[in-house]
């Protein structure tokens, strides 16, 4: 029966490895097309993820295999007594130093990615100079405030600012920055496709930069518990070409400042068809 137990414990790591190996094929991997991040930084983060995955997979397979083998030997041990051994200094040094070196390498290796991601000194200058929008999280929606075309985003709302709810348009191909804030409780700005996540803290304005590298409509969700409606903070980030983005802003301006007189420059249906025509 002892051997049966060994097989029982062997089954699980095998099942784990098999299911992980087939994960990308059956769509259990990162979300969206080809499981590839929609930002260059995201691709670097994925690279780091796969590096850690390889290291941990080797350790996982190794330790589980040794564990099962040790059990297998232990069951079949025909000796009268087990080995009387209290430890082995050399062995312990080896298995402390090797993981230590690997962990230190992983720690140092990722510093660059983190610095580029978050340390303000390393933010792309273009993005910092001209934040494209202020994102305000509220129970349970996302509000966006763009500056008027040709103007810069001011900390305080301006009379000619543009507003939308639950739909953020950004251009791809250049780094952009948003100012993230919250009006009520804590929320978290989570863009799975771009591997971006940042908590929105009431009382703070947190700059977040990202650079999308392909067009698409991506889900924007809230990752920090913010009350009973947490799950339905549903918004989209629409990544489009620079031209489409500028057109969108123009349309938005027309819609928002339409005084109700004269030609309907931008009623909702028209604006969309106009945008596509252009």
């Amino acid at each position: 029966m002892g051997k049966g137990w060994c097989l029982f414990f062997l089954f699980w790591p095998v099942a784990a490895v098999v299911s992980c190996a087939m994960a990308p094929m059956v769509g259990w991997s990162f979300p969206y097309d080809n499981a590839q991040a929609a930002s260059n930084l995201g691709i670097r983060i994925d690279g780091l993820f796969y590096l850690i995955l390889i290291v941990t997979a080797i350790v996982f397979v190794g330790t589980q295999a040794v564990l099962v083998y040790a059990l297998w030997r232990g069951v079949n041990n025909r000796e009268e007594r087990a080995t009387h051994i209290h430890g082995n200094h050399k062995l312990e040094l080896i298995w402390s130093i090797i993981p230590g070196v690997i962990l230190l390498f992983l720690a140092l290796y990722q510093m660059n990615i983190w610095a580029d991601f978050r340390i303000k000194k390393f933010y792309p200058e273009v993005a910092v100079k001209d934040p494209i929008a202020e994102v305000t999280a509220r129970q349970f929606e996302w509000r966006f405030r763009y500056p008027a075309i040709g103007k810069k985003l001011q900390p305080k709302p301006q009379p000619d600012d543009l507003y939308t709810v639950n739909e953020l348009h950004v251009p791809f191909g250049r780094p952009v920055m948003i100012q993230l804030r919250s009006d009520d409780v804590q929320h978290s700005f989570f863009l799975p496709a771009l591997r971006i996540k940042q908590d929105a803290l009431p009382g703070l304005q947190i700059p977040v930069w990202f650079e999308a590298n392909k067009e698409g409509v991506y889900d924007l969700v809230c990752a920090e518990l913010c009350g009973w409606g947490h799950y339905k903070m549903k918004a989209h980030v629409i990544v489009e070409s620079e031209e489409d983005y500028q057109n969108y802003l123009k349309n938005l301006t027309q819609q928002q400042f339409y005084d109700g007189l004269g030609k309907i420059a931008a009623n909702e249906n028209d604006s969309e068809s106009e945008a596509t025509e252009k």
């Binding site: 029982f8 790591p13 099942a15 784990a16 299911s19 769509g27 991997s29 990162f30 979300p31 670097r44 983060i45 780091l48 850690i52 941990t56 350790v59 996982f60 040790a70 059990l71 232990g74 069951v75 007594r81 087990a82 080995t83 009387h84 051994i85 209290h86 430890g87 082995n88 312990e92 298995w95 962990l103 992983l106 510093m111 983190w114 991601f117 978050r118 129970q139 009520d184 409780v185 804590q186 989570f190 799975p192 591997r195 996540k197 940042q198 908590d199 929105a200 803290l201 009382g203 703070l204 889900d219 969700v221 809230c222 990752a223 518990l225 009350g227 009973w228 799950y231 339905k232 549903k234």
Partner: protein
């Protein structure tokens, strides 16, 4: 009649005139008892009761994720007749908040420190009882106000709904959510009470271990279990006051209008608090300064117990006894400086994140050392596959998964993606269910004879293990994939979002596994209650183990030992030549059979089998 061991070290055996004195009536013996063993049993039954509650809450959470907005079977129509048996989103937030709260504060921490700490510390170090028996009793009775407070919070507007982390502003201002009202105040009071309970326990454990060790029991002869509990007690004593202070600040924010945790200029539910000037980040620092060490509070005692159990079941000395102690101490001390890894996305200074990241990476090292040492303990051993061993291997193989997934979390850029997704949920369930609870199940089978004098049923135990192991892996392993696909935690209905729509079948599979796991626990309860009364009598040392508790009767009388035992060497001396036995009790001198071990009267009747075996060898 007590004949004692010779004392070559010049230590005189200490006769204990007070031993075996019977405690008074039923109430002082079984209810307001100051005997550490009875208190341990009280803790055991209370925590097992809470395990049922916590498990039921978990199943309700899983029901909603597998069959969103469908009427809950059996209890649904009865609980929410108004909503047609559906779980409302408000109730759902309460469910996972209370599941975490109950499991952490009322099951895992008290079952480790309360049950096994109480039972084993005096027995394993050769003491009659705890240093402060009355304080010990009080530490158990402080659990009840906590349970009452948590219970009360259910009754106010659906219960607390801010998650077990109780992040402000959600938890700080009553208008933030339906569950942020009085329920949240009761929740905070409950945490404070359970904090008092833990604090009293940890002071008691530290004092007992430092002052009341039997002659010859040096620090480096303590069994690993005691080391685990000792380091845990130190962690508790240093970290817990911070949480208590934070909780108190949150209560004053809520009730007295202070504003430690919320800034000015908020508009919540169309109402604006008139004051402000606080900082929600402050709470996160205070909270995680306790709650990260708490992870080790929930793990270190199990690491200790598994070390002792594995060594016994493989009939081998523990591989690397001192490195194991040092790695435990390293885990504990690093545990104090890594709390920031819960806050990589929180908005604190990102440069600080780097420091926390390096420290967190380094904490993987002692954990790896421990894993290798356990494996090396099995290597070359004579493995006996009983329920205890199975649960220990279950612990080990799930701890490896949980430990390795921790490395992803330590890596800041990767953690940014995984933070608050199901990947995290997978990680801590592998550690807290996979590792801790399997360790606890093993320990329960191992030390059950010391609690009740009888062995647990092997067949039931093995079936329970197999079903639980299958259920646990089936429930928790797919969570890694949910996390990879970006499914956030605490969503009542993730399928609302386009990129998560396809996850429903996977969640249904997990729920079925969870139900299997839940039902398997019935076997555990049957086993406990059946074996308490009808299990085979165990004798003093049914596992042929070496540590001091196995020299006492099963269950030990009030005062534990006939004479204060004298310790001659470290624990886990297996695989030695000692007559026809392969182990050496801590009270025996090396390479010589003990001179005399006269059994007492009870021993002769109760414990015929194993004692005869021991005596024939001596």
């Amino acid at each position: 009649m007590s004949v004692v061991h010779p004392s070559p070290t010049g230590l005189q055996p200490i006769l204990k005139p007070q031993a075996h004195h019977a405690p008074g009536n039923f109430i002082t013996k079984y209810i307001f008892s100051t005997d550490h063993k009875i208190i341990a049993i009280q803790f055991l039954f209370t925590t097992l009761l809470m395990l049922i509650v916590g498990g039921a809450l978990a199943l309700a959470v899983r029901w909603q994720l597998a069959f969103p907005w469908e009427s809950m079977p059996i209890v649904g129509p009865w609980l929410f007749s108004a909503e047609g048996g559906q779980i409302s989103p408000e109730f759902y937030t309460m469910l996972f908040t209370m599941h975490a709260t109950v499991m952490i504060f009322l099951v895992i921490i008290p079952i480790l420190a309360g049950t096994f700490g109480n039972l084993l510390i005096p027995l394993m170090i050769g003491a009659d009882d705890m240093a402060f028996p009355k304080l010990n009793m009080l530490s158990y009775w402080f659990m009840w106000p906590a349970i009452v407070c948590f219970g009360m919070s259910f009754t106010y507007a659906g219960g607390p709904a801010a998650g077990w982390t109780s992040y402000p502003i959600l938890a700080d201002l009553a208008q933030a959510a339906p569950g942020s009202g009085t329920a949240q105040t009761f929740w905070l009071l409950g945490v404070t009470f359970i904090g008092f309970s833990s604090m009293m326990g940890s002071i008691n454990y530290m004092t007992t271990i430092i002052n009341m060790r039997a002659p010859g029991m040096t620090f480096f002869r303590l069994p690993m279990t005691i080391w685990g509990l000792f380091i845990t007690a130190i962690l508790q004593a240093f970290a817990l006051p911070v949480l208590t202070a934070g909780g108190f600040m949150q209560v004053t924010d809520r009730l007295l209008g202070t504003c430690f945790f919320y800034p000015s200029g908020l508009v919540i539910n169309n109402a604006a608090p008139t004051v402000g000037g606080g900082q929600p980040l402050l709470w996160q620092h205070l909270f995680w300064f306790y709650s990260h060490p708490a992870v080790y509070i929930m793990l270190l005692p199990v690491m200790g117990m598994v070390s002792d159990m594995l060594s016994c079941m493989c009939r081998k000395p523990l591989f690397g006894y001192k490195p194991m102690i040092f790695s435990m101490s390293a885990i504990a001390s690093l545990g104090f400086i890594v709390w920031g890894h819960h806050m990589y996305t929180s908005g604190m200074n990102p440069a600080v994140g780097m420091a926390f990241m390096v420290a967190t990476m380094m904490i993987a090292l002692p954990s790896a050392v421990k894993t290798f040492n356990w494996t090396a303990t099995i290597w070359g051993g004579k493995v006996q596959f009983n329920t205890v061993t199975l649960n220990c291997i279950g612990f080990l193989s799930m701890f490896i998964v949980g430990g390795l997934s921790g490395i992803f979390m330590a890596a800041v850029p990767v953690d940014v993606y995984f933070h608050d997704t199901y990947f995290i949920v997978a990680h801590f369930h592998y550690v807290l269910f996979g590792a801790t609870l399997f360790g606890v199940f093993g320990a329960l089978h191992f030390w059950f004879p010391k609690m009740f004098g009888r062995l647990m049923n092997e067949k039931l135990g093995k079936t329970h293990f197999v079903l639980t192991f299958i259920g646990a892996n089936g429930t928790f392993f797919p969570m890694h994939f949910l996390g990879m696909q970006g499914m956030p935690r605490r969503y009542a209905d993730p399928y609302l979002h386009g990129y998560l729509e396809h996850l429903l079948p996977m969640n249904q599979f997990m729920t079925i596994s969870a139900i299997v796991m839940g039902l398997a626990q019935i076997l555990l309860f049957i086993n406990i209650f059946y074996s308490m009364f009808f299990g085979p009598k165990a004798g003093r040392n049914p596992w042929h183990a070496t540590t001091l508790e196995w020299t006492a009767a099963s269950p030990p009388p009030h005062g534990n030992f006939d004479v204060t035992p004298i310790v001659f060497h470290g624990p886990n001396e297996y695989a030695v030549q000692n007559g026809d036995r392969d182990f050496l009790m801590q009270t025996e001198q090396e390479c010589e059979p003990p001179v005399s071990q006269a059994p007492d009267a009870e021993n002769q009747t109760d414990n015929a089998d194993t004692d005869n075996e021991q005596e024939s060898s001596s």
